[in-house]
């Protein structure tokens, strides 16, 4: 019996996840600035370096940052998985990812090869540390809950995605000839979006959907089998057995089950996180159906639209909705814990005072409108591209503003607690 593994109180220090969460929207803002600057020409060619930069500002800069921060926070809290020296490792991972992503995307945008070469080193170092830390934590825990099964498979998919990414980057950075780069690119993005991203979101959903709105839990047959099924199909698809249609139906089933559970929620109060999640599930379905239409309907912007539907319509809203639950709670928890042993206590703002609903709502509506205009911009690039970029810029700036305000509130109250501490002693 090992009770040491259950030293559950060890919530990592607030700056461990927060650094990732605060940096991520800045990359989305950079992506929108790039789009604003390049206008309708940006998304015209699927393979241009600008599109690669735009995509990676989201996938590496926004998504991977937040997912790293969230895992470093959630795994200790939910499963007692303790990351030793979390602060040191998270500082290294965060710095390497941030510098690496800036150099990588800058290298593509400004066509500077040395940037790509240096980015290779930073991203490689950051990835190795991230994978080692998460890998030890995820596979050391004996827990066999569906959440961990899904997260472990997502993690393996992350390794595959990053591995393929480094092979492909060798082509850009060092002119190393590689076998069939188009095929490898398809593998890279499919493992990244379906294997890593979808499986991680699904795994986290098992935990947070029932938690946030008090819904029934996901049916056991579903939560036990979904991730292994998806992972198996991805492997089949990789070696040339075309089963991806099943994937489409699995993704739709996840979205429908989630929407149904949320419909049965006990908590019927207005909730921005719920809005973001419903938005995300709706567009996961649209994105999946759109994929199916590819069998009989082709047009030049098809791949770009598929990416926007999946990332912009599904991944981004789900992630943003989660941030609005996790960050205020973490701030409240750390402030509460900071004055545990005091007799005289400062009143700590509740979660709704840390990020007010009004500002969350503004952000949600700007996100929604900017996304719809983004879809229009694919059909009418000349008229809508810059408007879409501008609205997206406002939307991600609102996210960053809300997160910075929350951090400022934390620092203010924390200072008051420290001052109080002097008098208590």
């Amino acid at each position: 019996m090992n009770t040491a593994q259950l030293s559950l109180r060890q919530t990592p220090s607030l700056d461990v996840p927060l650094r990732f969460f605060l940096t991520a929207p800045l990359f989305a803002i950079l992506a929108m600035l790039l789009w604003l600057f390049k206008g309708d020409s940006l998304l015209a060619n699927r393979w241009s370096p600008d599109v690669l930069a735009f995509t990676h500002l989201f996938t590496l800069g926004f998504m991977l940052q937040i997912m790293s921060g969230a895992l470093l926070q959630l795994l200790p809290v939910l499963f007692g998985i303790i990351f030793i020296k979390a602060k040191l490792w998270s500082t290294l991972i965060h710095s390497c990812l941030t510098i690496g992503t800036l150099l990588l995307t800058g290298g593509w945008i400004f066509d500077i090869k040395i940037f790509l070469q240096i980015s290779y080193l930073f991203l490689l170092l950051g990835s190795i540390i991230l994978i080692s830390i998460l890998g030890v934590g995820l596979f050391k825990s004996p827990n066999k809950s569906p959440i961990l099964i899904s997260t472990r498979l997502a993690f393996i998919a992350l390794i595959i995605t990053l591995g393929l990414g480094f092979i492909l980057l060798a082509l850009f950075a060092f002119d190393i000839q590689i076998y069939n780069p188009l095929f490898l690119t398809k593998l890279h993005l499919t493992w990244g979006l379906i294997g890593w991203t979808l499986l991680l979101v699904v795994g986290i959903s098992y935990q947070v959907v029932p938690m946030f709105q008090i819904t029934p839990i996901y049916p056991n047959y579903f939560s036990r089998s979904f991730a292994p099924f998806v992972f198996g199909i991805l492997i089949c698809w990789t070696i040339g057995i075309p089963l991806e249609v099943i994937l489409v139906f699995l993704a739709i089933s996840f979205a429908i089950i989630t929407l149904k559970l949320q419909h049965k929620r006990l908590r019927k109060l207005p909730d921005i996180t719920l809005n973001f999640w419903r938005f995300g599930m709706f567009f996961l379905i649209i994105s999946a159906v759109f994929y199916l239409t590819g069998y009989f309907w082709d047009f030049p912007q098809r791949d770009i639209l598929q990416g926007i539907l999946f990332i912009g319509g599904f991944v981004l809203p789900v992630i943003q909705g989660m941030l609005y639950k996790i960050i205020p709670f973490l701030i409240w928890l750390h402030l509460t814990n900071a004055q545990l042993d005091f007799t005289k206590k400062i009143k700590i703002p509740n979660v709704k005072q840390i990020i007010t609903e009004k500002w969350q709502r503004w952000h949600f509506w700007f996100f929604l409108i900017s996304f719809i205009i983004t879809l229009l911009s694919i059909i009418f690039p000349l008229y809508f591209s810059q408007l879409a970029a501008f609205l997206g810029l406002i939307s991600f700036s609102l996210l960053e503003y809300n997160l910075i305000k929350a951090t400022q509130k934390y620092l203010t109250v924390r200072r008051q607690i420290n001052e109080m501490q002097l008098f208590n002693i």
């Binding site: 938690m211 008090i214 928890l333 709704k352």
Partner: protein, 142 residues
């Protein structure tokens, strides 16, 4: 055969229902109903905490010989939630729905992650290691 995990998870679910009903009544500013629901919610949760602290945790601790492990964390979180109950009660008495709903959001996050740890780690472990005295424990936990 009934398990500790199933019984105590059911108790969590009952508390969740009462929690949501209270919130709903507060949001509707129906203070008489809110107070009635709150009292039911408070007493169901307090009873559950007490049974765990008086029956389950001591049994776990005496078997493992460790009172500084997971159970100490659970006790600590109970204390945090009891403090939040006091604040919730104040907000209710002052009929301050904004304050109540803000605090209840805190409460929900705290109790749901607490429950998750119990349901995913502590209860199954207790079922396993205290299998020989399960029937007796179940009697006291009901």
């Amino acid at each position: 055969m009934e398990t500790i995990t199933a019984l105590l998870t059911d108790q969590h679910n009952i508390c969740d229902v009462l929690f949501a009903q209270t919130e709903q009544a507060v949001a509707a500013q129906d203070w008489a109903l809110a107070t009635a629901h709150f009292n039911a919610f408070h007493s169901a949760t307090a009873d559950h905490f007490n049974r765990e602290e008086q029956v389950l945790f001591p049994a776990f601790e005496s078997f493992t010989g460790n009172s500084q492990g997971p159970t100490s964390v659970m006790r600590f979180e109970h204390t945090q939630m009891r403090e939040l109950f006091d604040e919730l009660k104040n907000a209710l008495n002052q009929q301050d729905s904004d304050e109540y709903l803000g605090l209840s959001e805190n409460f929900l996050m705290l109790i749901r992650q607490h429950n998750a740890k119990e349901e995913q780690i502590l209860y199954p472990m207790t079922d396993r290691i205290l299998n020989h005295q399960r029937a007796e424990l179940l009697d006291h936990l009901k």
